[in-house]
Amino acid sequence: MIEVKNLVKRYGDKKAVNDISFKVERGEILGFLGPNGAGKSTTMNMLTGYISSTSGQILINGTDILEDPKKAKANIGYLPEIPPLYVDMTVDGYLNFVYDLKKCKLSRKAHLKDVCDLCKISDVRSRLIKNLSKGYRQRVGLAQALINNPPVLILDEPTVGLDPNQIIEIRTLIKKLGKRHTVILSSHILPEIQAVCDRIIIINKGVVAADGTADEIAKSITNEHKMTLRIEGPTHTASDKDMIVTALRAVDGVKYVRADMERERGVYDYDVETDGKTDVRRAINALCSEKGWNILMLQLSDLTLEDIFLKITMGEQIGSDKGNDSKPRPRINLVFDNSSETENAASDKGSENAEASADDNGGEK
């Protein structure tokens, strides 16, 4: 449906997009994830023909966007980061304009009604766009993209500025749309991508840093096991701290222990990292009861997609010097910054935990 080959966009010396390749199949919902300035919008602008690529090829439904832009563009519905709304028009006037602009052949009245119902803007159709709230504007922007039922929908940060209810509505809507359309959406909000997309591409500094389903990406990185403990020592002084750290380090399977802040008076938190193979919770519990210490808290902190995202996007040398090979990058190509002392890659255990905590994460946001 969409095929992108070795896409490059150069602004002067700066490469905003550096050799991105991917394919999207019909009916797939693809999420573009990346921090601001990663090249998400640039890529989307190239996909929709708003800007041209420096090199590389984009095929929409088999049509090259540069060779036959009209035909390729007719297949795309695009919601840019800032919806292209004429604020001096009414919603109805604007949608009629877009209907004409796209040379839509569907029945005008019925089609516009369908689109408005789908985006839940039927009640504001006669209002001026400038008087609408951000949420409504965003939905008018989405409606605009849906006109003429394009097989491909490209949505650049569709939920920005919406309230939590609206975000959920839009997500549900996008999921629904994914059954009939091929959807590419971008976001820097992880739970959103997780909730909606079949597949995720993480873009950082203009290159694809990871490509796969949420599970695949989660599995590939949750090879570490971390927890936070709050242990009450006997004396309620700083001397407890060293003693407890030493004792914890001696537990089998523990790789790294670090005393954290004093959370309650005389009580400290300890960050414990294990080798990932051994469940050390019982051993620690036994240790504490033997010594007469009280465990006030035990919290597993597995890597969530959020952590992965941070790792991938904050890591320094990711991709930039590795993205030169012309062949497509493997599906999972995570590059970790292993130099930091706390983050030693271990086994691939803990994917269940990762999923669980990822879900928690989605719920919270």
């Binding site: 035909k71 304009f97 004409d100 602009l101 040379k103």
Partner: protein, 234 residues
């Protein structure tokens, strides 16, 4: 193209630009009609048209200033450029909308001709000749205005810059005699919008001038398309 044209026509009226344009045009043409035509005691409308040159020069930038600059500023150009239409359709749609407003404004002339009809015999040949001369002038000026509007995101910049350019072209007539080099003199004289226009108001129909205005209009619309195209590549 039809969609763009209809939207721009709507925008001219909802934004009030059309009303301002029409009102100012009517006020000044009314003034010149009274002062230069009725007071003169002749039914020749040429003085009205020759004076309106300066008014049109300052009014047309008002009409064209926001046509492309605002699209860029509000990012609505993203909607247009990603729609399955060509750049020519966008530019020409906007161009024709501006032309339509101008035709509405200029057609006040036919109201004046009715008044003149009561006072004497209307010389239709000069009136229509002048009418089309001004239309041609506007065709060229609007194309220049839209081109300048495509260069900036700020409509005030577009307006002031367009006025400056058009005014400079107008002034170029007054310093031609001070140009010493023959080839430069030839160029400036050939490019004079004003003397070509005044020729029409004097009753001379010069086909070269018609072609001059039409090709200027075409050329600047072409430049506008190139600017839009170039922006995608930079």
């Amino acid at each position: 193209m039809g969609a763009i044209y209809r939207r721009e026509m709507g925008a001219f009226f909802t934004s009030g630009v059309a009303y301002v344009f029409l009102a100012v045009f009517y006020v000044f043409s009314g003034y010149y009609f009274y002062n230069e035509v009725i007071q003169s005691g002749y039914t020749d409308t040429s003085p009205l048209f020759s004076n309106m040159f300066r008014i049109v020069l300052f009014l047309i930038p008002i009409l064209t200033m926001r046509l492309l600059s605002e699209e860029k500023k509000n990012r609505t150009d993203q909607g247009l450029l990603t729609a399955p239409i060509g750049l020519w359709e966008i530019v020409v749609g906007k161009y024709l909308a501006a032309m339509t407003i101008f035709v509405i404004a200029e057609s006040i002339i036919f109201v004046y001709s009715i008044i003149l009809g009561y006072l004497g015999d209307v010389v239709w040949a000069t009136l229509l000749g002048n009418y089309f001369a001004m239309l041609l002038l506007a065709a060229a000026f609007i194309a220049v205005g839209i081109f300048i509007s495509a260069l900036t995101e700020n409509q005030m910049t577009a307006a002031v810059f367009s006025m400056a350019v058009l005014f400079f072209v107008y002034l170029s007539d007054s310093f031609t005699e001070r140009i010493s080099s023959q080839w430069l003199y030839d160029i400036v004289v050939q490019l004079s919008f004003y003397s070509r226009y005044i020729e029409f108001t004097q009753g001379i129909f010069n086909l070269t001038s018609v072609l001059f205005y039409l090709s200027t209009a075409f050329l600047f619309n072409f430049f506008t398309v190139r600017i839009l195209e170039k922006r995608r590549w930079s």
